[in-house]
Amino acid sequence: MSISYLEALRMALGDAMEADPRVFVYGQDIAGEFGGAFKATKGLSKRFPDRIINSPISEDAMTGMALGAALDGLRPVVEYQFADFASVAFNQLVNNIAAIYWRTGQNCPMVARLPMGGTPGGGPFHCQMPEAWLSNHPGLVVVAPSTVSDAYFMLRDAIHCDDPVIYCEHKYLYYHLTADFDKHRAEHLALGEAAVRRTGSDCTLISWSGMVHRCLKAAEVLARDYEVECQVVDLRCVRPLDTETILASVAKTGRVVVVTESWPFGGIAAEVLALIASEGFQHLDAPPKRLCAQDVPIPFSPDLYAAHTPDEMRIAEAVLDTMAF
């Protein structure tokens, strides 16, 4: 059965609530017919009328409420309309939720769902990538699924996890990514494991979330036109990092480009490169590179937006730069 990334999310929410009566979803306009800003919960109110709950328009309040519910033994899933607005809940997320286990010894099994990433015309408040600022705080698990299968299993695993999980879902993939999916047969990787999406021996492309697909396209162009075979690593989970898979790939290829839709400064790409430089230095045959979004706020103009975000041509160019070293 072919389903979209968004439908996989919805299926995971439904199955999780079916499997565990402690699970509920809390967010703005998610209940009833409306089913949320991106329709992730559409239809679920009928099945679970008391467990799809509308919140007030206060990310701060709803996140604090979810924290209390988690400490009280429930398994809340908080939905923000846009990841950008999770910044309003920053205090709850990083001061309270991230640190609660260290302060009290009590687990905080909650999931915060952050619809992130760019769509043309979305502009500076509706396209941002939150994974770097939340990954900076010990205590939070931060994941960013790129496939339909991961959208389903990683959300199930996030809800099952006894620690707070920041679940970063890519808005562009909601409708644009569909795939055949059978939850009984599909590969189910562990939450913290990276996946090798394409094998190759010339250069490693490391990415996560929506950018994985552009890396795969770039890899095809490079293989077809330049006989450069890239190994594409999908981090899946950006905190903690699957250091073993990253270093094994760099050991294989000796060349690496980290590609992200996020900003460069202090980001996940920088963290991955620091890991490679300090622990995989002996494997490197060329300077490790990163290709990030331009270091400016996200533009509204579709033309400027296209220039803002890495695309497959620029990824291919970065790989060829690395290969030419």
């Binding site: 460069p264 045959d285 579709p302 220039a307 160019e317 060829l320 730069d321 030419a324 070293f325």
Partner: protein, 423 residues
């Protein structure tokens, strides 16, 4: 030169487009930026322009055919002078940074992003121009005409001698030396040797034998020490006469070994072995003998040489040499020194290298006839002589000690009766 025209990426959403109509026939001359073909995406009717001037040599898709982004639409035969003109017009570094924000430098991957020379081909994906209401979406082109206003900077090592961390690891792993890189052809930036070049290099030739590898390894380790050589001529007539009187007719090597053992035992500082900053004088003089085998040199050790009289020493050395040639070295342990008779190759003079852990090696040149001025008879005598060399670890002792050792040894060789114990 044939250049491909590829289906460009038009907008965010379209991964493919359908060919609607060709605006140019095969064989027609086209100029750069001239519209070649109309294509239809989900949203818009667009045209694809020629990436270069030349003759349209081939159309690769009929109207109605759907192509993915990057697929080949056509080929243009670019004229050589056109190609030259194109190269001249190729990306000069952007002369001003007016498009770049003041803090653009923090965007590391762009600021340092180089454009390799070979990338131009991928840029044959031409610019798309929309005819419809949707605004044209210019994509960054890989031919250097990028619309981000940044300078194209060539990244390189600037140095063919640059060694990447991976290359350095491979050198260690494969037993190569940095000096070996000079013999390889580097395919990397500025001619540096890449990891791939090393893999290619290593795939040639054949593996050294294990004996050869062991010798190479030992010699390389020994060579890390400051080694010096002293030499002198030694008269051999007395020795050659003396050996006829001794059981087993000991060779010059045997005499040299016994003489060296006695000379070392006489308190010479070179009788020491060096461990870190400590000098150890072994209770006995154990000497190694260099024995040539098929693909290397073995150095079996003879123990307590100073206690072995010439006939016994002859017998023991013959045994260890026979065993070594048989591939059975019974004792290859530590020795304070070694003896090499390179004279058997007809050589007069050489500077052999002592093994790591051995402080010196004594070398014997070939015996030869020579004139010697006899002041008593005022005439030239015919004598026989040979060059003896001592190559030693200069950390243990200086040239004076080596000279005294060699002189004491020569004195014994020239008076071989002193090598025989008087009971």
């Amino acid at each position: 030169m044939r250049q491909s025209v590829r289906m460009p990426q038009f907008g965010e959403s379209s991964a493919e487009a359908t060919v609607v109509a060709w605006l140019v026939n095969p064989g027609d001359m086209v100029s750069s930026e001239q519209e070649l073909v109309e294509v239809q995406t989900e949203k818009s009717l667009l045209t694809v322009a020629a990436p270069a001037s030349g003759r349209l040599s081939e159309q690769c898709a009929e109207p109605g055919k759907k192509l993915a982004v990057g697929d080949i639409l056509a080929y243009i035969e670019v004229l050589s002078d056109e190609a030259a003109a194109k190269n001249q017009a190729a990306p000069a570094p952007a002369s001003n940074g007016s498009h770049a924000p003041a803090h653009a430098g923090t965007n590391g991957e762009r600021a340092t992003s180089p454009v390799p020379a070979g990338v131009h081909d991928i840029g044959t994906a031409p610019k798309a121009r929309a005819r419809t209401l949707t605004s044209p979406r210019r994509r960054p082109q890989l031919d250097g005409s990028r619309n981000d206003g940044r300078a194209a900077v060539r990244a390189g090592t600037g140095d063919a001698a640059f060694i990447s961390p991976r290359v350095r690891s491979l050198l260690v792993e494969s037993g190569l030396k940095v000096s070996d890189l000079a013999t390889m052809k580097g395919s990397g930036a500025d001619g540096r040797v890449t990891a791939e070049d090393i893999q290619h290099y290593l795939s040639q030739g054949e593996q050294m034998s294990s004996v050869r590898q062991a010798v190479a390894n030992a010699m390389a380790r020994s060579w890390t020490r400051p080694l010096a050589t002293v030499a002198r001529t030694v008269r051999m007539d007395a020795l050659l006469a003396h050996r006829r009187t001794i059981e087993g007719r000991p060779s010059a090597t045997i005499y040299a070994m016994r003489a060296l053992a006695l000379a070392l035992k006489d308190g010479n500082p070179l009788a020491c072995r060096l461990f870190g900053n400590r000098l150890l004088t072994p209770a006995h003089v154990d000497l190694a003998v260099a024995v040539e085998i098929d693909d290397g040199v073995l150095t079996p050790v003879v123990r307590k040489v100073e206690e072995l009289e010439l006939p016994k020493l002859t017998q023991v050395v013959e045994e260890v040499i026979a065993k070594a040639r048989d591939g059975r070295v019974s004792d290859a342990g530590d020795a304070v020194a070694a003896v090499s008779n390179y004279g058997t190759f007809g050589l007069n003079w050489a500077t052999p290298i002592p093994l790591p852990g051995q402080g010196l090696i004594l070398g014997l040149g070939a015996v030869r006839a020579a004139p010697d001025w006899n002041p008593a008879s005022k005439s030239w005598d015919r004598i026989r002589e040979a060059e003896f060399t001592v190559t030693f670890d200069h950390r243990i002792a200086d040239g004076g000690a080596a000279a005294r050792l060699l002189n004491a040894l020569a004195e014994l060789i020239e008076h071989p009766e002193r090598l025989v114990r008087k009971d």
